[in-house]
């Protein structure tokens, strides 16, 4: 991701592509495309809005950014394993959208609290208990039905949250608002993709319906955490509980169209009142982070 030593606003100056492009014919240099990453907030105004606590804003960006980062990692695990090439491409595309949102949010988190931590610091150098994602996104992929059920729930809830942020809390932070405005449009495609598969499998053969219903049943206990406020969300006036009724209504409409049944499963228990938002995760997160972080930790500061 970003060069951790680049002064803010000039990260692109050191980009490997520039060196190659200058030493070669312009068209020939294009092979280097994609070999580097610039600061995703290059030159964006970093000032905080008055009355907004930087540490609170940072933590909130981490909650949302960690959700996006971890689900992105789960989605790309489908590469080479999806039922059809088209689905593999689709799931990788969705993962890329979420990774882009995570990069912006985690970069903003490091700006807002004044620590200057980069997206890489957050992604690669935090321990498991320092991740704030909900347990929904870290659960193992399971079968295609489970992954679709999880995507349907997440995309529906996150799009609703982004729309709410953009509509009613635009003054909270300009960067967060711009992530929300664009992210809501991206998530509309995610939601539509997951809804289409839910209907196709649910209203398909008896066997596909059974597998899709099993996916929804298994995901449902993890739904509650999306609407359970972390204290920082209450302080910032962005209580996700307000989204619950609308999201459940949207999910119920898709499930009805799929001729399936809205599950009635009870929420997964919290541990001493804590769950993913507070850094208490399931056993699924450790192996995911080991894979996500191993290259960066094996070769600290490496560039290529």
């Amino acid at each position: 991701m970003t060069d951790r030593h680049a002064p803010h606003g000039h990260g692109v100056d050191d980009h490997v592509y520039l060196g190659l492009a200058q030493s070669d014919q312009e068209a020939e240099a294009r092979w280097a495309y994609g070999t580097g990453f610039a600061d995703p907030l290059l030159g964006v105004d970093t000032a905080l809005a008055p009355d907004v606590d930087g540490a609170d804003l940072s933590l909130y960006c981490q909650l949302l950014g960690d959700d996006a980062l971890i689900l992105s990692q789960r989605l790309i695990e489908w590469c080479t394993r999806a039922p059809e090439l088209e689905e593999e491409v689709a799931l990788a595309n969705l993962g890329l959208d979420l990774l882009g949102q995570a990069r912006l949010l985690l970069t903003r988190a490091g700006q807002a609290d004044g620590t200057g931590r980069t997206e890489d610091d957050f992604a690669y150098w935090r321990a498991e208990h320092e991740f704030h994602n909900v347990r929904l996104v870290e659960a193992e992929n399971g079968d295609f039905g489970y992954s679709i059920a999880r995507l349907l729930v997440f995309a529906t809830a996150r799009r609703a949250l982004y729309l709410r942020l953009a509509d009613t809390r635009a003054e909270l932070d300009a960067v967060l608002t711009s992530v929300a405005v664009r992210g809501a449009k991206e998530l509309a495609y995610h939601q539509e993709y997951a809804a289409a598969w839910t209907v196709r499998l649910g209203d398909g053969t008896p066997y596909s319906a059974q597998r899709m219903q099993a996916g929804l049943d298994a995901v449902w206990p993890l739904l509650d955490e999306l609407f359970t406020a972390h204290e920082v969300e209450l302080r910032l006036g962005v209580d996700p509980a307000e989204l619950r009724a609308g999201v459940l209504e949207e999910l119920a409409a898709v499930i009805a169209e799929a001729t399936l049944v809205v599950p009635g499963a009870a929420p997964m228990a919290r541990v001493g009142g804590r769950a993913g938002r507070e850094g208490v995760h399931t056993e699924a997160l450790g192996p995911l982070l080991a894979e996500l972080q191993c290259v960066a930790r094996e070769h600290p500061g490496a560039t290529w």
């Binding site: 994609g34 449009k185 495609y189 539509e192």
Partner: protein, 171 residues
């Protein structure tokens, strides 16, 4: 920041930079070039410029290449003091693609996007988007997959000429 003749000249040059993923389009065609301004403290004779770019998708991996290309092309034209900055608000939309850009997309076999308007609503049940085949012009086309080789494109097929083609999605 002020818009000067030099800035306008630089904007014309920066606007000709091709998009790394859709090289038939320039940054101006795509609506990614959000403006060029001359830095005020530099005085009227100076050449210090700020180039504003608006990235397409959140996960667009091409921003670094776009910025490097802009600096390269402006440097060759004598603008050596150039800063590239990102502008996230207003967000990029396919509605910003110019008419010239849409014509170039179609000429390259990529069906241009329809007006994006409000955030894409959740559509249940069969949907009929009317898309003309960029090869033969027939409206008898169907979507194969909403996701294609890049974040911005979907895979389609023409039932008349049997050719597959790509289509840029509204966002």
């Amino acid at each position: 920041m002020v818009t000067t003749l030099a800035a306008r000249h630089a904007a014309e040059i920066a606007g000709t930079v091709p998009d790394p993923e859709l090289p038939m389009l320039t940054l101006a065609d795509l609506g990614v070039l959000a403006g060029v301004e001359q830095d005020e403290q530099d005085g009227p004779d100076g050449q210090a410029l700020t180039v504003w770019l608006t990235p397409t998708y959140s996960g667009c991996p091409a921003v670094a290449e776009m910025a490097a290309d802009v600096r390269l092309k402006l440097g060759a034209a004598g603008f050596t003091d150039v800063r590239v900055r990102l502008r996230l608000d207003p967000p990029w939309s396919t509605d910003l693609i110019t008419d010239a850009g849409r014509a170039k997309l179609a000429a390259a076999g990529i069906a241009p996007p329809s007006p994006a308007g409000a955030p894409v609503p959740l559509r249940l049940g069969p949907t009929r988007l009317l898309v003309d085949c960029p090869q033969c012009g027939s409206p008898d086309t169907e979507e194969l997959s909403r996701f294609g080789s890049t974040a911005c494109k979907a895979l389609w097929r023409c039932r008349a000429c049997r050719e597959p083609f790509e289509r840029m999605k509204e966002i």
